[in-house]
């Protein structure tokens, strides 16, 4: 095509951008490798302080007694369950808009951690429910919302495991994550509505804003420790995922290299006519 006229327009192109250059996993592995031991140490310390405050400093509740201490695990777990969904939604935007490889890694690493903490929240909530409500499960609005969040996490993880090609899987999961993110407030709202329609009013509300400062500070420390510890776990998981992809790429390369050593098949022209590619 000699002397391309100005009418020529690119149909599609992939040009280098700042994001492409920033998305270098080598850089990520370097700084995360330095950071991770310190973060581990710091979150362990914070967790020790938080647990000490929760066990020995915070007073037992005048109504619930010692069982209120479940709250110090339950509430941070619930927060992390939501926190990691938020992290996944941001990563999903990174995957879809900038096609940033690390965004996909971050999203994939966050899903099992978020699901695990949501499960912890459900289990502790259920254990807390037994002494408080006399039964392990009550269709309380908050527990129900968390259950649905857990189911959405399960769906996302299942979708990942179904699609073989990592790039396609990343895209599909990112779309579903964002659809879920739009839906979560609606689910929360509708479950609250449903709950007020059906729930007997006698049930004791958990937590609430009227929490006493003597319990609030240990709880805040625990939430901070959980956030830091969860983020550290996330970094670990991201490093594992980067390495897993490197292994995949190297394996494919090795297969290509070995394939090249083998004599070529008969030239294409002698193949039967109309053989599909």
């Amino acid at each position: 095509m000699s002397g391309a006229p100005p009418a020529t327009k690119p149909v599609m192109s992939s040009s280098p951008s700042l994001w492409t250059r920033l998305s270098n996993p080598s850089h990520f592995m370097r700084w995360s490798g330095t950071l991770v031991p310190w973060l581990t140490l710091l979150s362990a310390l914070l967790l020790a302080v938080g647990l000490y405050l929760a066990w020995f400093v915070a007073p037992p509740d005048y109504q619930q007694g010692e069982t209120v201490r479940i709250m110090f695990i339950h509430v941070p777990a619930a927060w992390l369950g939501v926190f990691f969904y938020g992290a996944m939604s941001l990563s999903a935007i990174g995957t879809l808009v900038w096609r940033h490889p690390l965004a996909d890694v971050a999203q994939r690493a966050a899903a099992p951690i978020g699901a695990a903490f949501t499960l912890v929240c459900l289990v502790t909530g259920s254990l807390w429910g037994k002494p408080m409500w006399g039964t392990y499960w009550v269709w309380d609005a908050r527990l129900t919302s968390m259950l649905l969040l857990f189911l959405i996490y399960c769906g996302l993880i299942a979708l990942w495991r179904t699609i073989e090609d990592p790039n396609r899987a990343a895209r599909a999961v990112a779309i579903l994550t964002l659809v879920g993110a739009v839906n979560l407030p609606i689910i929360k709202f509708s479950v609250n509505w449903w709950s007020t329609l059906h729930q007997p009013a006698s049930i004791l509300r958990m937590g609430g804003p009227t929490i006493d400062p003597s319990m609030l500070y240990p709880l805040l420390v625990m939430i901070a420790a959980a956030t830091l510890g969860g983020s550290t776990l996330h970094l670990y998981a991201m490093r594992t995922e980067v390495m897993r992809r490197r292994v995949r790429t190297l394996t494919i390369r090795e297969a290509e290299r070995l394939d090249a050593g083998r004599p070529r098949v008969a030239p294409a022209a002698s193949l039967p006519l109309g053989q599909p590619l």
Binding site: M12, D165, N167, T249
Partner: protein
């Protein structure tokens, strides 16, 4: 319409299929894409049809106004895009309404392919060769300047292959473009040939645009210890 492709690279499931493909087509020109099975002939056509994202490189079209590349082309491949429950005529009428720029009536197009009798038959009743001819009749019911043909002679008998060669010659005479992935350059003897070879393993040709998966490959080994 003119089409130019520069330094196109394709990767599927992390596997490099081809790198550095370039070609340009002017009105009336055709390109026969050859290569061994798995070399990426279908992948190249899928990228041109907009179904697959290229790993690197550029595709440019000119002289087509505001239309995007997928709106300028007909693609006929081994998935024929026909609904078995609908009649041949209904399938073509649907394609005609969907793709726009209608030309021949479905009945006339089928007659041209020697399938006039099949107009009211459900496609499920047709043989593989007849289905392929119905799919080829789609080329005639709407006008699209670029034809992407993936193994167009598959399942066709000799007479139909000659007919296809005739149709391609007419299309090119009217200024149309053809990109055909084929083992048999029937009717495209005068066309340029693009042979896709497997990329040399380990020897990554320096690409003008960075390759997404290079990030995974090039990370220093020491980082992983």
């Amino acid at each position: 319409m003119r089409l130019s492709v520069e330094e196109l690279a394709c990767r599927r499931s992390g596997r490099r299929v081809f790198t550095g493909l370039s070609f340009a087509l002017r009105p009336g020109e055709a390109l026969a894409v050859t290569g061994r099975n798995g070399a990426g002939k279908s992948s190249l056509l899928a990228i041109l049809a907009g179904r697959l994202r290229p790993d690197a490189g550029q595709i440019r079209v000119a002289d087509v106004g505001e239309a995007s590349l997928p709106e300028c082309l007909h693609a006929v491949g081994h998935r024929d895009g026909l609904k078995a429950a609908l009649t041949a005529g209904e399938n073509l009428a649907f394609a005609r309404a969907l793709l726009g720029d209608a030309r021949m009536e479905p009945r006339a197009a089928l007659a041209r392919l020697g399938l006039g009798h099949a107009h009211d038959l459900p496609v499920a009743y047709l043989s593989a060769g007849q289905r392929r001819r119905v799919a080829l009749a789609r080329l005639l019911v709407c006008h699209r300047p670029l034809w992407l043909l993936d193994e167009p002679t598959a399942a066709l008998d000799v007479a139909s292959q000659a007919l296809l060669a005739e149709l391609m010659a007419e299309h090119r005479a009217a200024g149309g473009l053809i990109v055909a992935a084929t083992h048999q350059a029937l009717g495209l003897e005068d066309a340029a040939t693009l042979a896709i070879a497997a990329p040399e393993p380990g020897l990554d040709r320096p690409s003008p645009t960075p390759d997404r998966d290079a990030d995974w490959r090039d990370a220093d080994v020491e980082d992983w210890a």
